[in-house]
Symmetry: C2
Subunit: 725 residues, 2 copies
Amino acid sequence: MTTVTIAILCGLLAVVYGIVTSQQVLRASAGNEKMQDIAAAIQEGAKAYLSRQYTTIAIVGVIVAIILAVTLGLTSTIGFVIGAILSGVAGFVGMSISVRANVRTAEAARGSLQGGLTMAFRSGAVTGMLVAGLGLLAISGFFWYLTGPGGHAPNDRVIVEALTALAFGASLISIFARLGGGIFTKAADVGADLVGKVEAGIPEDDPRNPAVIADNVGDNVGDCAGMAADLFETYVVTLGVTMVSIALLIRADAGELMKLMSLPLIVGGVCIITSVIGTYMVRLGGSGSIMGALYKGFGTSALLSVPAIYLATKMTLGDLNVPIGAPGFLDQASDALGGDLTDAAAAPAVTGVAFTGMDLFWCMMIGLVVTALIVWITEYYTGTNYRPVKSIARASETGHGTNVIQGLAVSLEATALPTLVIVIAVIAAYKLAGIIGIAFGATSMLALAGMVVALDAYGPVTDNAGGIAEMAGLPDDVRHKTDALDAVGNTTKAVTKGYAIGSAGLAALVLFGAYTTDLQTYFPDTQVDFSLSNPYVIVGLLLGALLPYLFGAFGMTAVGRAAGSVVEEVREQFRNNPGIMEGTSRPNYGRTVDLVTRAAIREMIIPSLLPVLSPILVYFIVSGVENQAAGFAALGAMLLGVIVSGLFVALSMTSGGGAWDNAKKYIEDGHYGGKGSEAHKAAVTGDTVGDPYKDTAGPAVNPMIKITNIVALLLLAALAGHVAG
Amino acid sequence: MTTVTIAILCGLLAVVYGIVTSQQVLRASAGNEKMQDIAAAIQEGAKAYLSRQYTTIAIVGVIVAIILAVTLGLTSTIGFVIGAILSGVAGFVGMSISVRANVRTAEAARGSLQGGLTMAFRSGAVTGMLVAGLGLLAISGFFWYLTGPGGHAPNDRVIVEALTALAFGASLISIFARLGGGIFTKAADVGADLVGKVEAGIPEDDPRNPAVIADNVGDNVGDCAGMAADLFETYVVTLGVTMVSIALLIRADAGELMKLMSLPLIVGGVCIITSVIGTYMVRLGGSGSIMGALYKGFGTSALLSVPAIYLATKMTLGDLNVPIGAPGFLDQASDALGGDLTDAAAAPAVTGVAFTGMDLFWCMMIGLVVTALIVWITEYYTGTNYRPVKSIARASETGHGTNVIQGLAVSLEATALPTLVIVIAVIAAYKLAGIIGIAFGATSMLALAGMVVALDAYGPVTDNAGGIAEMAGLPDDVRHKTDALDAVGNTTKAVTKGYAIGSAGLAALVLFGAYTTDLQTYFPDTQVDFSLSNPYVIVGLLLGALLPYLFGAFGMTAVGRAAGSVVEEVREQFRNNPGIMEGTSRPNYGRTVDLVTRAAIREMIIPSLLPVLSPILVYFIVSGVENQAAGFAALGAMLLGVIVSGLFVALSMTSGGGAWDNAKKYIEDGHYGGKGSEAHKAAVTGDTVGDPYKDTAGPAVNPMIKITNIVALLLLAALAGHVAG
């Protein structure tokens, strides 16, 4: 049995785990009739939204597929379609289990906190394992087919392009899903809060609020389906680009290359097993700490991954102390890795490109450490026990303005430690094994994706469960339990986003390495100057850095505008049907869901196309103004500009948003006057501001960065085809 | 008479204009006794703060001067001291005239709007002309001395380092002044608003508010003295680095070099004359538009500058169509400008380094166009007549949260057009005359500094005049007139900041060019790889990009914390002395001023040292971990990282803050319910958030960028000295 086959089996195991666990979830009681009614409305709305969203994306997808078929051929197009479809499936299945687990979690929480936790977490684990499992199946299955029945050598250009196209399919769907879902969920959330809590003075999740179902639908289509598509994309891109960079950079015989290229797959595979084991360790201890229970699961997976990765590496590569690659690798690699594409001697700062299997193992350990540190840093910045959240809560005492000022200060500050961690990881991994080392660091980060997504996807389920408990009039203690589960969800949601963007920070250099190598392959006669003294490099950096800002502006504006329409729609319902507020007549939930659906679909299109079209425009404009070499230089610099700026925009938005949300919860726990106090009102403002920050604009920056990079890679291939043809 | 002498005379003319105009201002009536009392309290507070601030800065300055004397010798130290002292003088004189013009503006506004406008603008013009005049005197006088009595060749290393040290002195003072003043003004403003308007329900500038004098002091020490020091710095650094890059990059005989190096000085000189003429054109037309009156002055200066710059260039260089520089310049320049320091052929994207005087003239026209476009874009994003501000005002209707969301969306979006303008200007100027072309573009932008600062410094005077009118109980129509003058001030303040940071965007490449050339001069044997594929370049970019975020976090936190202490202090005064609210006893204004003074001084120190120490740390750590070449690469990349990220942070903060402020004013003008409505309350929150954004963190990013760059240049010189010794 080959390594790739084992990886495929591990992917299948994840899918089996998903099916079995889904059935466990579905077997549980769905509560009384009222609860089921509410859940059915949420299900219906979520399904309706996702169908509309995927139909719209499909139109874009078909157009892109046709362009790919014409420019890059059939194999790449198939890769693109696989990536796109499975990304959609991951989101859809995640949503499907989530809208069924919500009501069952509310019901289970009537029994015990542990019951609610188990139900919500199992549902999250289904999504998590499917994201990792489908991601692994997509790459390893496609790779198996191409190198087996397809008859291609592992470093054949066809494989490089097909894997890139697969990643592109996943990314393109995920940016639409992340952004569309993000706009939906926050427009509904902000709109419902403004018109319900603030204007009408009714509590959150009050069934009299016509936007309340839309708000709950949003949790499922944004925080669950959108997030799942995003992490699927991150998984596929990271493993894919690791394999691509091995194919591009390492000069070895086919057997050696095959081993090395299947290493990311088997590492992904064994970590699915350790993640599955981890999911069974999520249990409340004596302290009753929910975060502690989740950490137990995460810690188990992470610790078991150390020996698992070691054994997988050993099994795949054999002797871990033998230098990797045939003679000549070093020249080739330093040639490709070192800045100057024409003269290896001009790249004196590049070192450490000769490496062993053991070096790769240590690089993967760096990835695990980075993941752990990002989890820890995110908890520090968004948890209610630490200075940042407390400082925002304290600032709420002096009003709305100081709450927001302190929240912005925290969001800016929260970028520092993750950046330092990434910088140190880049240097350490690079010293061990060059760019390939950085790629493996990113791979091992993503190998734990199943577990990380499980922790995240648990959040919207508990959020929904609380809403259902409120709307169905369940006893207060049920709501208390779901609230306790939900508070932890704010931190785990922030963790996933920090983790995804952190891995993008590591992967950026790998993607840029792939770009420069491809450039050398396709355009050997074009000498591109990537030096910082080249003004076109500066131009590229500035334009790249602009993208996350412009994208963020679009996202924030979209949420503001859509939330405004929700407010108007709800006001109209209240005006035309006074029975709603009296509780004698049912609001038209469907009309609000439909309104938000249309708004989200409309608003997601232009910003999602920004990262697709910008690299193409920059290349052609600069090439036209100056020459092709300048065009390539500006394009390459744009790729790094978008990560250098995107990393900070995304980290600040996701951490800041999480901190604002938990500062509100901290006050609701009875500090600074508790619920209803002036401080609480200020904290609600901060929470509202943080909503589109953390759930719309911030997280969508991650797929945006990837798309910009992948489009650049595909553009090179297409231009080369054009030049050759 | 040499060109340099003429420049010196123009500098003196500006000083004479300042003295004459000051006397005109001082001759005007200072109003009744009550007004004079209030003005005296503001004067006293401002003087007390600035003395404390300059004392503290002096300690840091003396330490730095000693370090410079040891590492770089006496001439550089003298340059540093001149830059530092004149930067301080520009701020101090600006503040001194401002605290005297405020009460006279209030008095003049009793007569007519034109009277108030003339008085406030004249005072602003004094500050503006002194900033430009002292800046020009500093560089041209020092350059004259060094090349004349000092006997140095114009491209002697001594001159390069002395001019760099002069810029460093100006920058170091200005970051302290910008940040300290910014913290003072916003802590007092936010604190006074929170405890007065929000808690006690008394109007802005009510004399019963113990923080009201501190608030008015803040306008003078932050928006006037801090701003003046900042623009002085920008002026000196831009002209200085243009001269330095000519000295470094152009191989010509001393006479040719002398001509070329004095061109920025004479351009600065003639533009002082056109600015002086422009100041006399600021008059209300038939429409009564205040912005129109200011534009008349600005437009006159800008238009007159076109022939003035042409004549100055023609007079200095002679035939404008002869290629500049001796034979061999091209090799040298392409060698120094092209990325690879060892092989000119490896820099194929670099073109257009052969240029004529006419090319330089066109580059300077580009600078004027950039200035005009930035003024226009800033007015679009911060003026009450356009979509962005109106969208924030409309979003205020649905609450505090949506106001802030829309404000953040506008702040993110506002970065796009200025970035595109800068990118196009960089490409155009570079194609005309390489890096020297970009440098001259930045120079002509700054040549108009006198006029731009005049427009800005007028703002705090009218703001203060309104406060004095309120406190002295002048008739309502006086306050209406000062309010109308003040509203325009919000836009002109935003313009100056966009202009300063925009010029920094242009100057960044020039500074980086100086860095790479210095590197080649001092360390000819160290081959530094500035390619984007070098991981230490990525590390440097990321760490550089982090600086504005961390700096912003410090600034925002400082304002929040200091404003909190103001709230507590005022609450205590109200509690211990109930007569204050009844109007029977006078609050202790001095104690609040003293509190804010101490807080601002304490909070400014660590963030101001961040850009001084970071480049040094990065160089030594990376050199230790890898090698010296990697250290230089990371340091160089850090310089660009800080501008790539700082440009966006600063533009978004300053435009967003201005938009929030004017959205409030737009509502106060009677839209969406006007003063006292719920929308107005939400708009006040947005204004509070925007305060530290636009007046503390955002503008201080500009000197921060310069300091990082200049410290790197001085570090190279110091290291070379160390190596040589």
